[in-house]
Symmetry: C2
Subunit: 233 residues, 2 copies
DNA sequence: ACTTGGCGTCTCACTGTGCGGGATGAGAGT
DNA sequence: ACTCTCATCCCGCACAGTGAGACGCCAAGT
C-alpha cells in the first residue's frame, strides 16, 4: 500500500505511465517494470492509449502519449519561471544556481545560471542526477511521503534524520556527496498544499561555500525558492 | 459509452485531468465540468493529487500537477521537431506553415514558419483556434474516433463527408472557413498506430493558394507531415 | 516441413473495489 | 444565533475490473 488514498485502477494506470516515461517498453517489459499480470497491463495500456496518454511506437512498444503534453499545456514551465530567479541568486551569492525537478528515482536540472568566471560547478540543463546524493535530493525528498523515501534510503548517502533536519530548517546542505570538493545548498519549492514542485540549489567549491553555510547565503536560497513558489501558482 | 475499451475509473480520472487542464477548478466547478457526483470527483481528485497529476492552488482549486511534465519529459517536443520541417515547407511552397495539436475542443499552434514578406496569413505560436473550422481541424478530426467527432459536428462548418474525403485523400483543404480570403491545406501527422499527433498546415490568400490546391503543394505538405511523423517516433 | 516458445490479444467467472447519497464540520454572511 | 454553501468523509452494496488460461501469430530452431 503505497498511496495515502489508493484507487487501485488509477494506481496501476499511473504505474504504467511511469514505466514508459523514460524508455518505451514492449508489453513484456511493461509487465516486468510494473509487476502487473499481463492481461491487466495490456487492458490498462489499451485504455490509456484510448485516452492518448500512451501510444505505440512503430516497433510496437508503449511510450508516453500526446495527451500528456496537452494536459500540461496550460501549466507554466517551472524551468522558464525559475531562470530569472536563478540569475538573481547567482548574482547574490556568486555561485552557480540550478533548479531541479524530481523524475522518479532521478532528478533533472531544468534550469541553471552559471557563475560566469573562475572555479565553478557546472550542471547542464537536462542533466539527470541521482536522488541518492546531494542537497537537492534532500530538498526534493524531505517533504515526500515516507513510503517513497523508504525505498530510496538504503542506497542514499543520507538518512531519515538528514531529511528531518531539512524539514525543520527548510533547507538542505551537503559536502562532497555528489562530487568531491563540491558543496551545495538547496531549498524545496512547494505548492499551496505543500507538494514539492522542485528544488533550488547553489553549488560550488567547499573552499568558498564552506562546510557550514552563512545565514546570508541561506537566506538568498530561501528567498529564491519562495519567489519561484509564488510565481508557479 | 465514449471510449472503445472503457475502464470506468480511468475514464473518470482523465475527465478530471481535462477539466482542469485549461483553468483551475474548485471542487464545485469540477463537479459541473465532469458531470461526476461530488463524492466521486473529490475521491478521484485526491487520488490524482497523491500521484501528483493534479495539485491544489493557494485558493484551493484543482490544477494540473507536476507529474504530467515529468511523465512527458522524455518525449521530444513535437513543436521543436516540427519547426525545421515547417521552414522547409514554407520555402518550398512560399506560404506560411504551422503545426497544430489538438487540445480538447480546440487546436493550438505549437510551431510556425511565416512567409517572410508580402501578403501572408499569420497564426502566432500559442494561438488557440476552434475545431469547428479550418483545414487543420479537418485533418485533426478525420482519424479521430467517431464519438468525439459527433459531438463537434453540429457546430462545425464541415460535415462527416468532409472528413471521409480527408481520410481517402490524406489531406484537407478549406477556403474562407476560419477567416475570409484565407485558404489552407493540412495533413495529419500520425503515430505508428494511426493515432493523430497533430496537423501540418499551410495557409495564405485564396488568390495564391487557389480554390483547388496543386499537386506539388499537396505533395510538399504530405512530405512535411510524413517527416514529422518519422521524427516523432 | 514441423515443432516449439514467446508474445500480444481476448474471454469470462468471480470477487474485491469503487460508488455516491447523505451525514458532518467549517467558514462566511446576515 | 442562525442559515447557507462548500469540502470532506463514511460505508453498504452492486458491478467493474481482475487475471488465469485459451488462442492466434510469428519467428527461431531442428
Amino acid at each position: 500500500m503505497g498511496q495515502p488514498n489508493p484507487v487501485g485502477v488509477l494506481d496501476k494506470a499511473v504505474a504504467i505511465l511511469h514505466a514508459v516515461a523514460d524508455e518505451p517498453a514492449t508489453l513484456a517489459e511493461l509487465v516486468v517494470r510494473t509487476g502487473l499480470p499481463r492481461a491487466t497491463a495490456h487492458r490498462l495500456a489499451v485504455a490509456l492509449e484510448g485516452h492518448r496518454l500512451v501510444r505505440r511506437t512503430p516497433e510496437g512498444s508503449w511510450a508516453p502519449g500526446p495527451a500528456l503534453a496537452e494536459l500540461n499545456r496550460g501549466t507554466p514551465d517551472l524551468g522558464e519561471i525559475a531562470v530569472r530567479h536563478l540569475v538573481a541568486l547567482r548574482d547574490a551569492t556568486g555561485e552557480s544556481a540550478q533548479f531541479y525537478v524530481r523524475d522518479g528515482s532521478s532528478r533533472v536540472c531544468v534550469a541553471a545560471a552559471e557563475r560566469t568566471s573562475g572555479l565553478r560547478d557546472t550542471v547542464p540543463v537536462g542533466a539527470r542526477l541521482p536522488m541518492t546524493a546531494g542537497s537537492a535530493a534532500h530538498a526534493l525528498l524531505a517533504f515526500t511521503p515516507a513510503e517513497e523515501v523508504t525505498r530510496l534510503l538504503p542506497a542514499a548517502s543520507f538518512t531519515a534524520r538528514t531529511l528531518l533536519d531539512v524539514r525543520r530548517r527548510g533547507w538542505a546542505h551537503s559536502v562532497a556527496e555528489r562530487e568531491p570538493g563540491v558543496a551545495s545548498l538547496s531549498a524545496p519549492v512547494r505548492d499551496a498544499s505543500g507538494g514539492v514542485l522542485g528544488a533550488v540549489s547553489i553549488s560550488g567549491p567547499v573552499e568558498r561555500l564552506g562546510r557550514r553555510p552563512g545565514a546570508e547565503v541561506v537566506g538568498a536560497v530561501l528567498d529564491a525558492a519562495a519567489a519561484i513558489s509564488r510565481a508557479g501558482r
